[in-house]
């Protein structure tokens, strides 16, 4: 009876894995092949959602939740805002037939993929065959918090500094571009200095 229940659970996990894995791959291909970046960003949401399901199957609950919050909630929304700001800039991805550059890129990506898959296939029956047993709290928020603030405290602090530096860099990139507009700058300086330079 117990083995029957375990095998039924295994079949269920297989079904969820096949659905999530294939939607992940299909939306990944869609992101790369859409000509409108708006549709690509929308397809990325599907990719991230199905990846979160795969993370749940790998008992990484906190990472799955963070994935949905950080990526689908913040990164994709920022992408959509910027795409709406710069306007739809279409690009026909495969226009003009395959150039040597496209051909080389496809060959390089295909070679990389083949290499990785062959290595995984060679190890699939060996060291990758038996996974370790983990407890029920593996990957839970409490466990992640405990590990993050004890063993990996340095990682935590460095991550916060990286995020701070990136935020400052984003603000500087977004705000100081007017300085390079010579006409407006000269006009603004003249307006500012006029009362100071006038002796009367």
């Amino acid at each position: 009876m117990l083995t029957l229940a375990v095998s039924a659970g295994g079949v269920l996990v297989w079904i969820v894995w096949v659905v999530a894995g294939f939607s992940c791959l299909a939306s990944g291909v869609a992101v790369v092949s859409f000509s409108n970046p708006f549709y690509s960003a929308l397809a990325l949401i599907g990719n991230l959602g199905s990846l979160a399901v795969l993370y749940l199957l790998l008992s990484a609950e906190f990472v799955a939740a963070a994935q949905v919050l950080v990526y689908a909630g913040a990164v994709v929304v920022m992408f959509l805002f910027v795409i709406a700001y710069v306007g739809p800039r279409m690009e026909a991805p495969w226009a003009g037939g395959p150039t040597w550059q496209t051909l080389g890129a496809v060959l390089a990506a295909g070679a990389l993929l083949t290499e990785i898959v062959v290595v995984i296939g060679l190890e699939a029956g060996g060291s990758l065959a038996h996974s370790a047993h983990v407890g029920a709290d593996f990957g839970s928020p409490a466990w992640i918090g405990r590990v993050f603030l004890s063993d990996h405290l340095l990682t935590f602090e460095i991550t916060s500094i990286v995020l701070l530096v990136a935020a400052v860099g984003g603000v500087i990139l977004g705000s100081h571009t007017r300085r390079h507009d010579p006409g407006k700058r000269a006009h603004g300086v003249a307006l500012e200095r006029e009362p100071v330079g006038d002796p009367r």
Partner: protein, 102 residues
Amino acid sequence: MLGPGVAWYLGVAAFLFGTGALGVLVRRNVLIVLLSLEIMLNGGNLALISFSRHAGNGAGQIFALAVMAVAASEVCVGLGLVVALHRRRLALDVDRLSELRG
């Protein structure tokens, strides 16, 4: 571990990485290159979490969270660059942005 073994997850991760690399190499729109970079990072994250589950060691999940923070920083700076390019009326085409080429 119920269901598929860790090699299947690693296959999905490899395919995602290859797809993202193809997008970065082939596409010319800056925004789609950034989106393809996200796909590459997600493939790397899936491999990290698969190996973390395989070995029963949580350091992979911590590393995946750090990669997520780095991806958010990269998007912040990358989109700042896109907005700066747009304000200077430059084309969002990586082949035409060749001012710094030596």
